[in-house]
Amino acid sequence: MKRTWTRITIAVALVLVVAFPFLTNAYILGIAQAMLLYFIYAMAMNLLMGYTGIRSFGQAGFWGVGAYVTGLMMNMHQYGILSLLGAMIIGAVLGLAVGMLSLRLQSVYFFITTLGVSEMLRVIAINWMPVTRGPMGLMVQPTSMGLFLGRFEYQTQVYLLSVLLAVLCFLGLRTLMRSHTGKILMSIRDSEPLADSVGVNPTAYKVFAFATAGAITALSGGLNAMAYRIVVPDFLSMQYTTIGLLMVLIGGSGELWGPLFGALIYVGFNEGLRSIGEFRLVIFALIMILVVMLFPKGLIGTLKQQTNKIKQRKQQT
């Protein structure tokens, strides 16, 4: 009975989400757009950190690269969907390369390497003027998305594409984590030596997770480029890595619905604090410190803990 209600709720929600562009104005749609693409980013992070236990501090590298690739391809008049595909492919290749090189290292060194790679990409983005236009940023020409979305307005096209991709990602991840591969990833997270001892090759799976997460992160960055039509080197900075990490931590690391909550909360907060202007980042930093220190298991994780405790007490009485 509960299952049917859940399904009905999800169906209704989906219908609302798809109909959204026709119900509201451009500004609110922009916020919903942000939530969708950050949701995708958070899902990638969740796969990487929440399910496989890989702590990378350089995800912004993938995000920014995805943004640049998509932007560049769109400027070459490619269909939106192809531009995103290009971003994902590059993201996967980058993930494979970096992953194979560095995942065998100790965790602290790995973290520094991922940071180093994204920083290096940022330096390249700042200086490779002919391609990236440097600190001024790359303007992205709007093109058609493909997929017969052509009859809608640009913003609506991007939005609907984002909905489709977000749902696909979600379903894909859910399937992955329920599959045999998914269980192996989780076992690597919980105890790599143990996984190793039962004959699994942890590095191979970690590289797989890293490359997949890289591709999905690049997808998110690409959507960002599409939606807001500007790409700057800042996208490759630690700031954007932190956003990804925070979303997963707040939403709940390793939880299926965690990324959605994390993205909603992040975008919500961002919008809510917009009125404060530049002070926003200071407040944001303060909130980040407090959340990370007071809710180390994330908001969802802590909620789960508390509800479990209440359940236990109820069982005892």
Binding site: M49, G116, V123, I124, L281, V292
Partner: protein, 290 residues
């Protein structure tokens, strides 16, 4: 050839400023076993507080330096106690996010207060003189001199004073340090403050050489990561040598490639090194060689 010598000299100066900050970072890592991502901001604050003291209070350079270092030590101690020390018990990712929060907090506060326009600090030691084909300023000599003195000083303190050995012991074997009765919590805070002082001194000395920007903290941090890995996590000699090497490399490379690309050198070196020798040049992978 002249230009090579000049750049080598500049590189040593630059490298020494890196080494100071990197030593502080590696010291904190050795003792607390975590990366303090706000360490670079202590360097930046050293420079900015000095600039503010000189500009708004009219204090002379040397007085400003001393005061600034003291203030940054206090700020460092404060954040060490409230954020870094408690965070060291969390999972590493949370700990790093917490310190990154402090970093963002400080750099954005400075950005708000001082805006992003580059500032300069003038010191009375900027007289230029020449040794052979190389042009130097007394300020640069002071940087190198102080750097050597401090780094040496830290090394001597750790290896030859009881207090220093306690820090050394904690970084070697924390449980055993607890067992012999060392107050590890207090030592953490002290080591942290030492690191802050080192970073602040570097910032204060270097502020007369280059212009200040609110993001100079994160700029030097990313380089210090490379240095600390090059030299081995937790190794002070490694941080010193790594810092000097990086400074030299960056300065010498500007002879052949445009200077905006120099930040990339640190990472290229880092990546190459990690592929070839994952434990760093000097330090061991897990153990600490303070």
């Amino acid at each position: 050839m002249d230009i090579v010598l000049q750049q080598a000299a500049n590189g040593l100066v630059l490298g020494m400023s890196y080494a100071l900050v990197a030593t502080g970072l590696t010291l904190v890592f050795g003792v607390l076993r975590m990366m303090n991502l706000s360490h670079g901001e202590l360097y930046m604050l050293g420079a900015y507080i000095l600039s503010a003291l000189m500009q708004y209070l009219g204090l002379p350079y040397v007085v400003g330096c001393v005061l600034s270092v003291l203030l940054v030590a206090l700020i460092g101690y404060f954040f060490g106690m409230t954020v870094v020390q408690p965070a060291s018990h969390l999972e590493p990712i949370n700990a790093m996010l917490a310190t990154f929060g402090v970093s963002t907090l400080l750099s954005n506060l400075v950005l708000l207060i001082f805006k992003a326009t580059p500032r300069m600090v003038s010191s009375p030691f900027q007289v230029v003189f020449q040794i052979g084909p190389v042009f130097l300023t007394i300020q640069k000599l002071i940087v190198v001199g102080m750097g050597l003195l401090l780094n040496l000083g830290v090394y001597l303190v750790i290896h030859h004073t009881t207090f220093g050995k306690m820090i050394w012991a904690i970084s070697e074997q924390r449980t055993a340090a607890e067992i012999v009765g060392i107050d590890t919590k207090r030592m953490h805070n002290l080591a942290f403050t030492m690191g802050a002082v080192l970073a602040a001194i570097s910032g204060v000395l270097v502020s007369a050489l280059y212009s200040l920007a609110p993001n100079m903290g994160s700029g030097i941090m990313t380089k210090c990561f490379a240095i600390v890995v090059l030299g081995g996590l937790g190794s002070i000699p490694g941080a010193i040598i790594g810092g000097l090497l990086l400074g030299l490399a960056e300065s010498l490379f500007t002879i052949i490639i445009p200077s905006q690309w120099t930040p990339a050198i640190a990472f290229v070196l880092l990546i190459v090194l990690l592929i070839l020798k994952p434990e760093g040049l000097i330090g061991k992978s897990k153990g600490v060689k303070l």
